[in-house]
């Protein structure tokens, strides 16, 4: 590793934190899947199983006060900033202990106190919104940056292009992170996109560097993200990052993902699992198996406990149906 790369590489303390986050995201995602099959989670969930390396690596490279904007596939990014697992699972189950007390649900996880400024379920909508948060930081001379996560499918909607041009012209402290999991919902992204790498190959249109990384390697994500975050924070303007990744489950709970060629899932699961890759790396670096096993079992216990607390919690209070439409706390539209 050269000196430059070393400067943006995670310390061993950070690596242990990344590992813990990876396990938390994996276990919570798996738990959400199980709770759905038990009919305890209604509606839908969009899981990030297999894609945890991007959330864990980016979150580790962010600073307190930095802002996260994510999509309806936002559980991992929300949790990676420190949001309570119990509150997230409670929200999925529509319980009173839920993060949003059941008003948002799986697709709208938000935790302002952790810098998670929302999960947006309209493709592309949050890229301009992240620009606005970055504009505020620029205007106020604040040091925070905005980080906006989205999928490969987002690169084909207008707001993506409007936001990139806008962010570059205004030189905003915002970083756009594309999670290319090869499929826009049910369709291979390559079938519907003019270029091979849907985000990276568009960067030049906005005068940005072509940055493509391995999303299954959380350390690689960390290094690339940290470089972009440092640039944004120091007034160098926006970056567009694309990470190659893969989701182990379908687009949503309604999707059995039968459109994938035979063997593809097995390959990614066996050889490209970000949790397995990271665990092996830490062992190779000399971290004790007992240390990692402790993180594994402790995380499993926390997630199990969170799910049980959610199951035991009452359904959300119906008193809140008409609250918080307007700033006065209510929903009155006439006198």
């Amino acid at each position: 590793m050269n000196e430059e790369a070393a400067a943006v590489s995670p310390s061993q303390e950070t690596q242990l934190r990344i590992y813990r986050t990876l396990v938390e995201l994996r276990e919570t995602g798996q738990k959400a899947h199980d709770l759905f099959l038990q009919n305890l989670v209604k509606g839908t969930v969009h899981l990030s199983l297999g894609m945890e390396g991007i959330a864990a690596g980016c979150a580790a490279a962010m600073k307190p006060g930095d802002l996260t904007f994510c999509t309806y596939r936002g559980h991992a990014h929300t949790l990676a900033r420190g949001t309570s697992i119990e509150k997230v699972l409670g929200e999925l189950m529509g319980r009173d202990n839920g993060l949003l007390r059941g008003k948002g649900g799986s697709m709208h996880l938000t935790s302002v106190e952790h810098g998670v400024m929302g999960s947006y379920a309209i493709i592309g909508a949050h890229l301009p919104i992240a620009c606005g948060a970055a504009w505020r930081a620029q205007y106020k001379g604040a040091s925070d940056i905005s980080v906006c996560f989205f999928g490969d499918g987002t690169t084909n909607i207008g707001a993506f292009h409007e936001a990139l041009n806008f962010a570059v012209v205004w030189k905003l402290p915002v970083v756009f992170v594309c999670e290319n999991n090869l499929y826009m919902e049910y369709t291979p992204i390559a079938d519907v996109t003019a270029v091979a790498q849907p985000a990276a190959d568009r960067a030049c249109a906005y005068g940005l560097d072509r940055i493509l990384g391995d999303g299954q390697d959380a350390d690689a994500v960390y290094r690339i993200a940290k470089t972009a975050f440092d640039k944004a924070r120091s007034g160098g303007g926006p970056s567009l990052l694309e990470f190659q990744t893969y989701r182990f489950s379908g687009h949503s709970r309604a999707d059995p993902a039968k459109y994938r060629p035979a063997g593809e899932l097995d390959y990614w699961r066996d050889s490209r699992d970000p949790v397995k890759i990271y665990r092996k790396r830490l062992l190779d670096l000399g971290v004790g198996e007992n240390v990692l096993a402790y993180i594994d079992s402790e995380t499993q216990r926390i997630v199990d406990d969170a799910a049980e607390k959610g199951k035991a919690a009452p359904f959300t209070s119906t008193d809140i149906l008409m609250t918080d439409v307007y700033a006065d706390g209510g929903s009155a539209w006439r006198n």
Binding site: L67, L99, L100, R101, K103, G104, H108, T110, S111, V112, M117, G118, Y120, I122, G124, A125, H126, L127, P128, I129, A130, C131, G132, A133, A134, W135, R136, A137, Y139, K140, S146, G158, A159, E162, A163, N165, F166, V169, W170, I320, T323, D324, V325, Y326, A327, G329, S331, A332, W333, R334, N335
Partner: protein
């Protein structure tokens, strides 16, 4: 006291609030050095500088989305969407994002912004630069919607909108920009959600908004002079929140209700008001409520056609006279 145009009132209202609060920032297309295509932001760039009055690319999604992101993190942006017709290209932001965030996040996210937009017909611009689209916004829970008709109200409602903690869509009427009105010196701050009786009367209530207000007043004057019908004209001013008290109280007193709406017929604001009146003061009415609207057509460009489409003083007079005689 000074006479001011509606256009200059916009700039004065903005300047009043920008002087008070450095978090108030303007964003829009051609609003900075150019002073706006309607010249409603002239002088603000020179007075407040390039950081507070910023031009954007022709990217309505980016500019409205950015206004939202800035609002939810601490600024008080006032975004201009040049023609209200263009709200259609950033509809997601005022249909899905801006108004729903507070509710969806259980009160965590707040979006205190103002979207100013040039609304309405009379400029011979044709179907994509002339619409009255207040009803596009009125149907969305979480928004507030105002449409002033005088320079005085522009300043006061602008201040109220900027100081309001909720998102406000502020409809400026393009055909009113050149009109003038008396405006007192000093700070002017009005209140959202308050309708105004602009011409007292006892025989019928005419509800009107924006450009239709001066037409309703002119029609009421003629109905009085020519037919002895004494109409009360109410400037609705605020569609969300809606001041039903002022309007229902007038309707109960006069026993007749007319709405004058520039929007195409279906789902105009008047339909909601008629529905409320029928539900809540039906037995006070002496006749069916009547809506005077633009027909349900795209607006044409040629003067003779556009003037025929949008409610005129003549049409208001004739409709009220015939209905009252029936």
């Amino acid at each position: 006291m000074a006479e001011l145009t509606y256009r200059d009132a916009v700039a004065r209202g903005l300047a009043q609030e920008m002087s008070r609060d450095s978090d108030v920032v303007l964003i829009g297309e051609d609003i900075a050095k150019a002073g706006g295509v309607f010249k409603a932001t002239v002088g603000l760039y020179d007075q407040f500088g390039p950081l507070r009055v910023r031009d954007t690319p022709i990217s309505e999604q980016a500019l409205l989305g950015a206004a939202m992101g800035a609002a939810m993190t601490g600024l008080k942006p006032v975004a201009e969407i040049m023609f209200s017709d263009f709200l259609a290209v950033c509809f997601d932001y005022f249909a899905n994002e801006i108004p729903k965030s507070r509710y969806m996040t259980n009160g965590q996210v707040k979006v205190p912004l103002v979207v100013r937009t040039g609304n309405g017909g009379g400029s011979r611009f044709g179907a994509q630069h002339s619409q009255s689209v207040e009803n596009w916004c009125m149907m969305i829970p979480g928004l507030k919607v105002v449409a002033p008709s005088t320079p005085y109200d522009v300043i006061g409602l602008m201040a109220a909108a900027i100081r309001d903690p909720d998102p406000v869509i502020f409809f400026e009427h393009k055909s009113l920009y050149a009109t003038k009105g008396e405006v007192p010196d000093g700070e002017i701050v009005d209140q959202l959600g308050v309708a105004k009786v602009v011409r007292p009367g006892k025989d019928a209530t005419i509800l009107a908004l924006a450009l239709m207000v001066p037409r309703a007043i002119a029609a009421a004057d003629r109905l009085q002079a020519e037919y002895g019908i004494n109409c009360e004209v109410i400037d609705v001013r605020s569609l969300l929140p809606l001041d039903t008290k002022t309007m229902l109280s007038s309707i109960s007193r006069t026993s007749r209700l007319f709405t004058v709406e520039e929007n195409p017929r279906l789902c105009g604001w008047g339909a909601e008001l008629v529905s409320i009146a029928v539900e809540e003061c039906f037995y006070d009415l002496d006749g069916p409520p009547v809506r005077i609207t633009t027909p349900h057509i795209p607006l044409p460009s040629a003067a003779v056609l556009e003037d025929l489409a949008i409610p005129s003083v003549e049409r208001i007079v004739e409709t009220v006279r015939k209905s009252m005689a029936a």
